[in-house]
Each structure stands twice: as structure tokens, then as C-alpha cells.
């Protein structure tokens, strides 16, 4: 519990991470992490999509420009897609987008792809912990406007 006048918490910068979750696996995976009471930092803003293949690269660019410090693509493991080939398409989009974002000068950690299934709650929590630490280490995104909180 924070005491009045204790400003130590405010000084620490907390990253904002946009997380695209596939309805059929990683969204259920994050649910599983909650049900299993796995600790994870409150840094993510989850957006549920029906399939990781639905994550348009334009969404990612918009998220980065609107003040996200990192964007995560999560979906079913290759071969497990509910719609047969959606995650292959997601992978392709990610690869192309990664090249563009890298050429623009953003760090590798700011855009990541991870396959998480519905039963991998602990993996999900561990992954969010890991990414939050990474982003904390590299600091705010250069695309974020100074006034964006």
C-alpha cells in the first residue's frame, strides 16, 4: 500500500505495451494466467482479435504512433490455427513489418511475435514479465510524443 506523500512509485516509468491476442489461444492463455493467479505487471493493453492473421500491420503502426512502447503479436502455434492458415499469414505480415520497423530505427524488442496456446497460462505471464523488463531497460519509444502519458 502506498502512503500519502510517498512519491517513489510515481518516479518509476511504466511502459505501455499493446498486445494483440488471438481469440482461440493467447486470449484464453491470458485468461488461464489470471485463473492460475500468475503474477504479471499491468503494462499490457490487450486487444482481442479473432485470429492473429487479422492483425493488420496498420494497427501495429497506429499503436506505435499513438504511444505504445512495444507491440506484441500473439497467436496459436504454427499448425494449430482455428482457421487453418491464419497464423502463417500473421507470420508473413510480421516479417515484412519487422523489416520496415527496423529500417525506421526502432529497437528489436519493440515488436515481437510469440505463439502462446490456450493452456500456457504460466508461459503467458512469464512472457509478459520478460517483455516488460526488456522495455523498461530500453526506455520509452522514440515515436511517442512527449505529452503522451
Amino acid at each position: 500500500m502506498r502512503l500519502r506523500g510517498d512519491r517513489s512509485m510515481e518516479e518509476e516509468w511504466i511502459p505501455k505495451i499493446t498486445l494483440f491476442c488471438c481469440n482461440w489461444c493467447s486470449y484464453a492463455g491470458s485468461d488461464d494466467a489470471g485463473v492460475g493467479r500468475k503474477q504479471q505487471p499491468p503494462t499490457t493493453r490487450t486487444i482481442r482479435v479473432m485470429c492473429s492473421g487479422r492483425t493488420d500491420p496498420a494497427f501495429v503502426l497506429a499503436a506505435l504512433l499513438e504511444g505504445s512502447d512495444a507491440v506484441l503479436f500473439t497467436g496459436c502455434h504454427i499448425g494449430d490455427c482455428h482457421y487453418i492458415s491464419g497464423n502463417y499469414k500473421a507470420k508473413k505480415k510480421f516479417e515484412m513489418l519487422k523489416e520496415v520497423v527496423d529500417e525506421l530505427g526502432l529497437e528489436d524488442e519493440r515488436l515481437q511475435l510469440q505463439w502462446i496456446s490456450a493452456s500456457e497460462g504460466s508461459e503467458f505471464a512469464a512472457y509478459i514479465n520478460k517483455v516488460t523488463e526488456e522495455i523498461k531497460a530500453i526506455g520509452p519509444s522514440p515515436l511517442r510524443q512527449e505529452w503522451m502519458k
Binding site: L65, M96, E99, L104, L143
Partner: protein, 382 residues
């Protein structure tokens, strides 16, 4: 005549032979295609002055004849005109003269189902580069000391840029004028594709004599086009001399080497990440949201443009999302034709920005856009 043959050809019509560049062959082919009803319409460049040409789509042979002659200082890409034709006449056929970059644009559009390759006749033209009209006029006044209005003919020959008026003729080497910042457009300087081997016919004056055109027949369609003109008594052909073929090859390799040197000069890699970000931010800062680069782009093919859909003039982003989406969309298909830089009212070096991103991805996937019908990496899902 058969596919793979190299011939020299010229127009039988004496007047046309004098009027058109290199024997008026291309004009005759267009007229032949119209007269034999091989195509419904042709696209040609109507000459306004030595520095201005307006693309027209016509089914009138007289109009096609009036378009005879080459224009080096009218950098226009005809791809979008061909796309418009197929939008209006999905079952029609069209013939048009193409530079290598027009041709690459058309092939990229065909991959995106905007153009039917079976019903488009591409008369390829060798291209050593085009020039920007305004800078050319400035160059004429400063370096050549000639009046731009009096120019009647211009030519690129043996590494020299030649301008002719009624009275005089002056030649200065291309290296010299480009050193001074004039000459060919920047995108033409580093373009290494000079002979359009992906078109139906590859025409040009490299390796041909006075008032005749060197033609390589590349496809079935090209053969049909040549035959229709020969049968109709419009052109005359002769087998190409061995010497001509060698000269053409040599000219091509010289141009390729020049392009390589320019490429290294223009595209200096920026190693540091934060500097790279600053470079893109600074370059795109001047954008006034006119969207001209999108309209003119020969490979841009969305029906409802995503780049505009996601963009709002009220956004206060550090880089315009319009440009980021365009960078991504053109990542596999950018042919570096330079149209976006030409039309940009804010003078953003867009072609260089697009090409910096695109070259990386094209190298990674080993894909060169517009030279064959290979599936673009974006569409290739395992």
C-alpha cells in the same frame, strides 16, 4: 521472323520515318495494331513542346501518327493509364510504348489483377534515363547557353547529351552535367534496367543505323504485333547485323555500371538506429497531405486505400501513418521509378525513402519487382 529474333526495322512511310525518332517504327506498330483491330485503343504521348507531353488514349490512327517522336524530358509513367483502360473495358485490348519502368509497373499491376497481360501489347523502349523538364530548361540556359524554346531535337549518344536547334548543335558529356546537378532524374541515374526484356518487343536505337530501330522480338504477342504491321505494309524489316547486337550489349553493360556507381553514391547506409529514425522523421516532416504520391504511383493498387483510411489530418504523430503504410505496402513492389519525388510539392525525396526500405526486403526475399510473373513475397504464404 520468330520469337527471339533480332531485326532492324523502319517505317515505310517516308514522312513518318523522318518525323518519328529512329525510323518511326513504334508509331507504325501502334497504327498497325489499330488498323488490323488487334487492339481497341493505344496510349501515346502527345507532344506539346520538347519539354511537355500529354498521355492520350485513342483509337484514332491520325492521333497516333501525330504522337510520333521521342520525348526525353517528359517523365511520365503510363501504368495507371493502362489500369484505367482495363477498369473501363475489362475485355478490351490495348497497345502502348513502355520504358522499362512503365513495363515493371504494368507487370506488378497484373500480379494484383488490375491488368490482363494477355490483352496488353507492350512495345518496350530502351531507356538511358529521362529528364525533369524544369531542370532541363535551366540547364539549357546555364550550361548549353541555348534558348529552351528553340530546341527541336535532343538525343543521348555515347555518353553525351546532345541538343539541337535549327542552327546549331551542342554536346556535353552526361557526367559533366550530372556533376553540376542537372541531367537525368535521380531515379534514372541509379536505375540499372535499360533494356525492357520483360516487354513484348524491345526496341531502341542502340546498335541500329540512321533512321531505323533495333528490335528484339520477345514474346508471341510481340511477334503478332510485328507481323500485323509487316502484313499491312507499314514497316520494313531486315536481319540485325552482328555488329549491332554487340554494340547494344556493350551500351547496356556500360549503362549498368554507371547505374551501380550512382546507386552506391546515393544510398549510403545509415548504421545508427536513432540517426535512421531522425532521417525518416526529418524527411517526412514537410508532407502537406496532398496524396499526390499515391495517385501517381504505378504499383499502388488498393481499391480503397488503407493509407488514407488510417490517416487523419488531425493526427499529431511523429511520422505520418500515411507514409508508414505506404512504405510497408510498397516494400515488395517499389520499382524506384521516381514518380513520387517528381510530383511531391514539398520536395520530399520519397523515391529514396521508399527504395531504402524496399531494397532491404527485396534483397531478403530475393525478389525483383516487375521483371517476371513471380509471386510477390507478401502473397506467398507457406
Amino acid at each position: 521472323m520468330k520469337i527471339g529474333d533480332c531485326v532492324v526495322a523502319w517505317s515505310k512511310d517516308e514522312e513518318l520515318r523522318k518525323m518519328g525518332a529512329s525510323g518511326g517504327l513504334v508509331t507504325s506498330l501502334l497504327v498497325g495494331a489499330l488498323e488490323t483491330e488487334l487492339v481497341d485503343e493505344v496510349i501515346a504521348l502527345r507532344k506539346i513542346s520538347e519539354f511537355e507531353g500529354v498521355p492520350i488514349r485513342t483509337s484514332d490512327t491520325d492521333e497516333a501518327i501525330r504522337s510520333a517522336g521521342s520525348l526525353h524530358a517528359a517523365p511520365i509513367n503510363l501504368t495507371k493509364f493502362a489500369v484505367r483502360f482495363f477498369e473501363e473495358h475489362p475485355d478490351g485490348a490495348i497497345a502502348l510504348p513502355v520504358k522499362p519502368c512503365d513495363c515493371r509497373g504494368i507487370i506488378e499491376q497484373a500480379k494484383r489483377r488490375k491488368i490482363d497481360m494477355d490483352r496488353i501489347y507492350l512495345i518496350g523502349l530502351n531507356c538511358g534515363g529521362t529528364m525533369d523538364p524544369i531542370t532541363t530548361m535551366e540547364m539549357l540556359e546555364k550550361m548549353y547557353e541555348m534558348d529552351p524554346k528553340k530546341i527541336v531535337e535532343e538525343e543521348i549518344l555515347k555518353g553525351k547529351l546532345i541538343f539541337k536547334t535549327e542552327e546549331e548543335e551542342k554536346a556535353i558529356s552526361i557526367d559533366e552535367v550530372e556533376e553540376a546537378g542537372y541531367g537525368r532524374r535521380e531515379s534514372c541515374r541509379y536505375c540499372g534496367i535499360n533494356i525492357p526484356m520483360m516487354a513484348d518487343l524491345a526496341c531502341g536505337n542502340w546498335g541500329a543505323g540512321e533512321d531505323e530501330t533495333f528490335v528484339e522480338i520477345l514474346t508471341e504477342k510481340g511477334l503478332r504485333l510485328m507481323k500485323s504491321a509487316v502484313d499491312h505494309g507499314l514497316i520494313e524489316t531486315a536481319p540485325a547485323p552482328e555488329k549491332g547486337i554487340k554494340i547494344r550489349e556493350k551500351t547496356n553493360s556500360v549503362m549498368e555500371n554507371v547505374a551501380k556507381t550512382w546507386y552506391e553514391k546515393v544510398f549510403v547506409p545509415i548504421e545508427d538506429r536513432s540517426e535512421r529514425m531522425k532521417y525518416y522523421m526529418d524527411a517526412m516532416e514537410d508532407c502537406i497531405d496532398c496524396e499526390a504520391c499515391k495517385y501517381v504511383c504505378p504499383v499502388c493498387s488498393c481499391d480503397e486505400s488503407k493509407c488514407i483510411g488510417f490517416y487523419d489530418p488531425m493526427d499529431s504523430h511523429k511520422i505520418s501513418i500515411y507514409h508508414l503504410i505506404r512504405l510497408l505496402h510498397l516494400a515488395d513492389s517499389c520499382i524506384g521509378c521516381g514518380q513520387c519525388t517528381d510530383v511531391c510539392p514539398a520536395e520530399i525525396p520519397l523515391t529514396i525513402l521508399h527504395k531504402r526500405v524496399a531494397d532491404r526486403i527485396q534483397a531478403k526475399y530475393d525478389y525483383i519487382p516487375g521483371i517476371d510473373m513471380k509471386t510477390p513475397p507478401f502473397f506467398e504464404v507457406e
